[in-house]
């Protein structure tokens, strides 16, 4: 069917990129006058939708730092890789970043499973990972710095607000079936019961990732909410499943005034991809809102819009987490005078950096940071109006006090404990062999 010419041509076409790639694979040029920063966010696959923005944020922050003259007299160099939403690939890429590119720190991961996958590698090679997303807690690694919210910095304040200000009596805990919603709901269930909520007044529902047919579940929520008591939905529904969920809520006539939904995974960026009409009035709890009016935030938003060259792009909570994390890292490296991981890890604890929304974030000995908690209502322009906020920053708690098995456990990476999983009853550091 094909003549020889086209065959030749095709061979060349086929081999050229492979050959080029092979050369690059085996000959990494080590420019010693730069400090390398790894960016480990999925740029393809299911998570690209959330993580691509964080890659751009990192590039912007690094760019900015270089304009200020770099770090320790050297330029920073971003090493971007694509773990393609594939969990084992996250581990492989982390190893690549640490051993082949010799990066000084990695900023990355979004899902819990990707962090869990990377964890053994980072610990083995003594790297530094900044993890920018709200997560379930129950973890504190020597090598990971958690700049997103722990459950006590997001879920508990949100429930308090619903209970005290909106007088909610009946609760639907709806989530995607994975570890973050499971933990959060477990903590919330314990918390609600401790506050005297009857078991009958709590409905828990789990759905798979990307669940798209919400008809029956929303009908159930509607029935549950029609029992005459004020009902609210606490949603830990993840990513893509949110759009059909809110659409169905809107269509079945569940309005924010009847049954408000407070979400922990819906931010400005998710809203920019949703027709916000049916969502107006529903709530979200975060540590940052784009709408918060401070000069720092305005400057950050302007910087982002200029960098990405799109005046319509929005900022969100994980971006602020990277902003804080990156600047804390810069401060710690300056303090330590080196990028040596042990020195930087030590120097990071206690570093303070101002939040974009006011107040100061501090890296705590448990490798979590202190953050303000904000609760906002969704507006039809895809922004939040803050309806409640803590009057001071809340310290991130790695091990929840509301779960019996983790109540006695604390994390403290300063001497003399130096442990991420220290049992205050048995006085033992368990679980970790490093």
């Amino acid at each position: 069917m094909f003549n020889t010419n086209s065959k030749r041509f095709s061979k060349k076409m086929l081999l050229a990129p492979i050959a080029a790639a092979a050369m690059a694979f085996f000959s990494t040029v080590h420019a010693e006058d730069t400090i390398k920063v790894g960016v480990l966010h999925s740029l393809s696959g299911t998570m690209a939708i959330s993580e691509t923005t964080l890659k751009d944020t990192m590039l912007m922050l690094i760019d900015e730092q270089n304009k200020k003259g770099g770090l320790l007299g050297k330029k920073l160099e971003a090493v971007v890789v694509d773990p393609a939403s594939n969990w084992p690939l996250f581990a492989e890429k982390a190893r690549e970043l640490l051993t082949k590119d010799k990066v000084s720190a990695i900023f990355g991961c979004w899902t819990s499973v990707s962090r869990k996958s990377v964890l053994p590698v980072i610990e083995e090679l003594n790297g530094i990972l900044f993890y920018p997303v709200q997560y379930e807690g129950e973890e504190s690694s020597k090598n990971v710095f958690y700049t997103g919210a722990a459950p006590n910095q997001q879920a508990i304040p949100a429930v308090d607000y619903l209970m005290n200000d909106l007088k909610v009596k009946r609760w639907v805990l709806a989530g995607t079936d994975y570890v973050y919603p499971r933990t959060t709901n477990k903590i919330l269930e314990a918390y609600l019961k401790a506050k005297g909520v009857n078991k009958k007044d709590i409905m828990i529902n789990y759905t798979p990732f990307g669940h798209s047919d919400w008809q029956s579940i929303v009908a159930d929520i509607k029935k549950f909410g029609s029992a005459g008591k004020k009902t609210a939905v606490v949603s830990t529904i993840n990513g893509d499943a949110n759009v059909p969920f809110y659409k169905e809520l809107g269509n079945q006539g569940v309005s924010a005034e009847n049954i408000p939904v407070v979400a922990f995974s819906v931010g400005e960026e998710e809203l920019s991809g949703i027709d916000t009409k049916p969502l107006v009035g529903h709530l979200a709890a975060w540590n940052y809102f784009m709408s918060v009016d401070t000069t720092k935030n305005a400057a950050f938003i302007k910087q982002w819009k200029d960098y990405i060259k799109n005046p319509k792009r929005v900022t969100n909570d994980p971006m602020e987490a990277h902003y804080i994390g990156f600047n804390m890292w810069v401060k710690a490296v300056e303090k330590a005078g080196t990028t040596d991981p042990d020195a930087v890890q030590k120097a990071l604890i206690g570093v303070e950096y101002p939040n974009l929304t006011g107040g100061v974030a501090k890296m705590l000995p448990n490798h979590h940071i202190s953050k303000p908690v904000l609760i906002g209502e969704i507006q039809d322009d895809g922004q939040f109006v803050t309806v409640w906020q803590t009057n001071k920053v809340v310290d991130g708690d790695a091990w929840s006090d509301f779960l019996p098995e983790s109540k006695p456990i604390i994390a403290d990476w300063t001497a003399p404990i130096s442990c991420g999983n220290y049992n205050t009853k048995t006085k033992k550091c368990s679980g970790q062999n490093y």
Binding site: P83, E92, V179, F209, G431
Partner: protein
């Protein structure tokens, strides 16, 4: 499809075998013998990446036996790989013992977390290495046997068979995602510490796993080559080419198919079991229909029905992925997608076909 001449096949086979053997012996040997800063020392990264390719090659090989020789386009072959991986993962989880986050001597962390009080029955025995290894073979094997027995007996063929194998892996994907199943849900099994008492992250264990993957691949390759050259192998190939005719000749077609399908599933299980300790995690996404589809693509890319083609395809595709995801994070899907199209259009016999033609041109 053009069958390659036996002579050249032998030559290529010999080359592939010797390259494999060299890699299997030299890399671990260098790493054990030379110090870490030596030029001959391979980094842990290289070892783990190539080790992963070897297990993928084994997986591709097993699919080639089913697809290339028996003509069954299985779109759910990844399920057997994942099951083997889970069996291994369960063994590794039990080895953690009290070193888990919550320090429970018996229950893995995720069960403590879900408030489970005792170990589910299907986790029993997995603390025993021999039992776990048996399960690596038996679980995928049994599933393949039952599934195959049902399907082949009722003469489900062609696309119908392909799609129900896809349904199989999809159903397993959804099932393993469920936290109630007792396999760790979306996070899967991770945080492994020891294997047979040795630290899983140590250099020696990593080299050993690498070596075992190489040996398993070479062994499976030889075994498959032998099978395809026996009378059984020829009947199987005949089934691929003209199923009804073979049946009319009096052969019990479904038994041959069943045998090959089950055997290949076990091989895939072995590949999974070797894969998990090297990458350090097993999670339900291994069951995803897209993963299984990708295996088919390795085989097609390398050249199906040749065995070594599957090995070459698996290595080439995965190697390009490794390189391109680092080098061109924004554009690698264009290249990979383009590659698939170009290969199908211009190289109907895959890379092996291309090499073969080149050899012939040189000879001429």
């Amino acid at each position: 499809m053009k069958l390659l001449t036996l002579a050249s096949q032998d030559k290529t086979r010999a080359t592939v075998l010797s390259v494999l053997a060299a890699i299997t012996i030299i890399i671990p040997l260098c790493n054990v013998l030379t110090p870490a800063d030596s030029a001959l020392h391979f980094s842990a990264y290289t070892v783990s990446v190539i080790g992963k390719y070897l297990t993928f090659a084994l997986l591709g090989l097993s699919l080639d036996l089913v697809w290339g020789y028996c003509g069954i386009l299985a779109l759910g072959h990844g399920a057997f790989f994942a099951l083997g991986g889970y069996a291994m993962g369960m063994y590794l989880m039990r080895q953690i013992g009290t070193r888990g986050v919550y320090g429970d001597p018996l229950l893995p962390d995720f069960m403590v977390f879900l408030n489970w009080k005792e170990l589910p029955w299907f986790w029993y025995g997995f603390d025993n290495f021999a039992f776990a290894m048996l399960m690596v073979l038996l679980v995928p094997g049994t599933l393949a046997f039952v599934f195959g027995w049902l399907a082949f007996r009722s003469r489900v063929t062609g696309v119908y068979l392909s799609i129900i194998t896809q349904a199989l892996t999809y159903a397993l994907l959804l099932a393993f995602f469920r936290n109630e199943m007792g396999f760790g849900g979306n996070n899967g099994l991770t945080d492994f510490k020891d294997i047979l008492g040795f630290n899983i992250q140590s250099e020696g264990v990593r080299s050993m796993l690498f070596f075992l993957s190489g040996v398993a691949l070479i062994g499976a390759f030889l075994l498959c080559s032998w099978i395809t050259s026996t009378k059984l192998g020829r009947v199987v190939t005949a089934i691929r080419d003209q199923e009804s005719r073979v049946r009319f000749l009096g052969y019990r077609v479904e038994m041959f198919k069943l045998w090959v399908f089950t055997f290949a599933a076990m091989l895939a299980g072995v590949a999974g079991a070797l894969y998990v300790p090297q990458v350090g995690i097993i999670n339900p996404s291994e069951f995803s229909p897209l993963n299984s589809l990708e295996i088919v693509i390795w085989v097609a890319m390398g050249g199906r029905g040749t065995l070594y083609g599957a090995i070459i395809g698996a290595v080439v595709v995965n190697y390009s992925k490794t390189v391109l995801t680092g080098l061109l994070p924004d554009a690698w899907l264009y290249i990979l997608g383009g590659l698939f199209i170009v290969v199908t259009l211009l190289l109907p016999d895959g890379i092996v076909g291309l090499l073969q033609r080149k050899l012939k041109e040189q000879a001429a």
